[in-house]
C-alpha cells in the first residue's frame, strides 16, 4: 500500500479535478488513485495464486479413485461432546463471521467517505474483531484435525471405500481371523455384520505412542466389484488431501492474519487523526477494505472447493 502524503491528497468522493497532479502526470489512469489501482492489480495477482492452489487441488482430486467426503471430515463443533456429528455447521459459522466482517468493512469505508472519524474507527474495530474470531475458529478446526483426527501434511486417515464388503474380525496381533471354511470371519457390530458400502466414508482412528501416531489397520473382505473375494487392509485416504487442506486454508488464514494486522495499524492511524488531515476521504481505509473483501471473496471459493463439492 503506497502511502499518500498530504501533498498528494485527492478527493475520491468528490468530483475529479481537471488536470489533477496525483500521478505527477496530467491525469489519473482509470480515474483511480495510484494506491487503489495498484491494490486492484495486487489482488489480481493474488487471485491467480489462490486459483493455482485450488486448481491443483481439483487436478489431484480428479486423479484419485476416491477422495474424502467433506461433510464427514468437517463435522466437529466446539463445546459439544466428542463424536457429535454436525456436518458443515462450524464452517458455515466461519463463513458468516467473514461475511459480517466484510459488511462492517463496507460501513467503515462509507463513514470514511463522509470524513466521520468515530464511525471509521468503530466499524473497523468490529471488522478486526470478526477477523480475530475467524482466526480463532480456524485454530479450533486445525487443532481438531491434527490432534483428534491425526491428519497431517503427509497423513490422511480419511477415505472412502471403493467397493462393497464387510469388516473382518481381528485377533490380538491385529491379523484377520478365519472361520472353519477358511473364509474371513465378519466383525459383528450391534448383532449384525459390519458391512461397508461403496462410497462410504471412514476415519482410521489413531493411537499415540511416544508422540508417534499409529493408525488402526482394519481389514475388509470384498464381496462385490473388481476386488470381489479379496481380503485387504483398509488404506489411509489420498495423502495429498492433508497437505492441500493445510496449505490452502493456511495460506488463506495467513491473509486473514495479515489483514487483521494492517486493519489494526490503519484503525490506529485513523483514530489518531492522520487520515482526517489528508482530506482524501480516508482512502487508506478504502484500500485495506479492498484487500479485506478479497479475503472474503477467496473464502467463497475455499468454502466451495473444500466443503461443498
Amino acid at each position: 500500500m503506497a502511502d499518500n502524503s498530504v501533498a498528494h491528497a485527492h478527493e475520491t468522493h468528490g468530483a475529479h479535478q481537471e488536470g489533477g497532479h496525483n500521478w505527477e502526470g496530467a491525469a489519473e489512469p482509470f480515474k483511480a488513485s495510484y494506491g487503489k489501482l495498484m491494490m486492484w492489480y495486487f489482488l489480481v495477482s493474488d487471485a491467480f495464486t489462490f486459483a493455482g492452489f485450488l486448481i491443483a487441488y481439483g487436478a489431484l482430486r480428479f486423479s484419485m479413485p476416491s477422495w474424502p467426503e467433506p461433510d464427514f471430515v468437517f463435522a466437529s463443533f466446539p463445546f459439544l461432546k466428542e463424536g457429535t456429528h454436525w456436518p458443515l455447521v462450524f464452517v458455515t459459522f466461519m463463513t458468516f463471521v467473514l461475511i459480517f466482517s466484510s459488511v462492517t468493512m463496507v460501513r467503515a469505508v462509507q463513514e470514511g467517505h463522509r470524513e466521520n472519524r468515530r464511525g471509521v474507527v468503530f466499524w473497523m474495530f468490529l471488522t478486526i474483531l470478526g477477523g480475530a474470531v475467524f482466526l480463532g475458529s480456524q485454530a479450533y478446526e486445525w487443532t481438531t484435525l491434527i490432534v483428534k483426527e491425526n491428519v497431517s501434511v503427509s497423513r490422511n486417515p480419511f477415505g472412502r471405500h471403493l467397493n462393497d464388503g464387510y469388516l473382518v474380525e481381528l485377533d490380538a496381533q491385529g491379523q484377520p481371523v478365519m472361520d472353519a471354511n477358511g473364509r474371513p470371519k465378519p466383525l459383528m457390530k450391534d448383532g449384525a455384520i459390519a458391512e461397508v458400502k461403496k462410497g462410504d466414508s471412514y476415519l482410521l482412528h489413531g493411537h499415540r505412542h511416544d508422540g508417534k501416531v499409529e493408525l488402526e489397520q482394519p481389514y475388509i473382505f470384498y464381496t462385490k466389484g473388481s476386488d470381489a473375494g479379496e481380503l485387504r487392509p483398509v488404506e489411509p485416504g489420498p495423502k495429498a488431501f492433508g497437505a492441500l487442506f493445510f496449505f490452502i486454508t493456511g495460506f488463506h488464514g495467513f491473509h486473514v492474519f495479515s489483514g487483521v494486522l494492517f486493519l489494526s495499524i490503519i484503525a490506529i492511524n485513523a483514530a489518531s487523526g492522520l487520515y482526517a488531515a489528508r482530506k482524501n476521504g480516508y482512502e487508506m481505509v478504502e484500500k485495506i477494505g479492498l484487500y479485506w473483501h478479497f479475503v472474503d471473496l477467496v473464502w467463497v471459493f475455499v468454502f466451495l472447493v473444500f466443503y461443498l463439492l
Binding site: A59, F96, H293, D296, F301
Partner: protein, 145 residues
C-alpha cells in the same frame, strides 16, 4: 459510489448482508440434502443429480463473488477500463481449470494403467515363437505369487 445517497449506501450494505447470508444458508442446506443428511432416501451423490448439484454450488459461489466484487469492492462504480483490466486477465483461469482437470483425470488413468501392468503375469515364449515373454491374459496379478 459517489452517486448514491448515504441512506441508499446503508441500504445496499443491508441488502448485501441478506444476499450473501441467504445464499450461504441455501448452499449449506442443499449440500446437506445432496449428501443425504436431511433425509436418508433423498441424496444426489452420483450421476446426473450430482453434476446438477455441483453446477448449482458453482453458480451460487460465482454470484456471491460477483456481488462482493461489484458492490462491496465498488467495481460497479469504476470506469470501464479498470473493470476490464481486472476481469479480462482473470478469465484466463477458465482455460486453466479445463486444462488441469483434464490433466488430473489423465494422471488417474495412467496410475491405473501402471498398476494393471505391474500386476500382470508373464511366461517365456514357447519354442518356435518369436523370442520374449507373453502376457498371460486375464491374470492381472490375481494368481501370480
Amino acid at each position: 459510489m459517489s452517486h448514491l445517497s448515504y441512506e441508499d449506501q446503508k441500504k445496499l450494505v443491508f441488502r448485501g448482508l441478506m444476499i450473501l447470508g441467504i445464499i450461504t444458508l441455501v448452499e449449506v442446506f442443499i449440500a446437506l440434502l445432496a449428501k443425504g443428511h436431511i433425509s436418508h432416501s433423498i441424496h444426489f451423490k452420483e450421476g446426473f443429480g450430482h453434476y446438477l448439484y455441483m453446477l448449482l454450488m458453482i453458480g451460487f459461489s460465482l454470484y456471491k463473488a460477483y456481488f462482493i466484487i461489484f458492490y462491496f469492492m465498488h467495481m460497479a462504480y469504476e470506469v470501464r477500463g479498470l473493470v476490464l483490466s481486472v476481469l479480462l486477465p482473470t478469465s484466463l483461469l477458465v482455460w486453466a481449470i479445463i486444462a488441469f482437470f483434464q490433466e488430473g483425470s489423465s494422471w488417474g488413468a495412467r496410475r491405473e494403467l501402471i498398476k494393471e501392468k505391474d500386476e500382470e503375469s508373464v511366461r517365456p515364449a514357447p519354442a518356435g515363437q518369436p523370442q520374449g515373454y507373453y502376457i498371460i491374459p486375464g491374470t492381472n496379478g490375481r494368481n501370480n505369487g
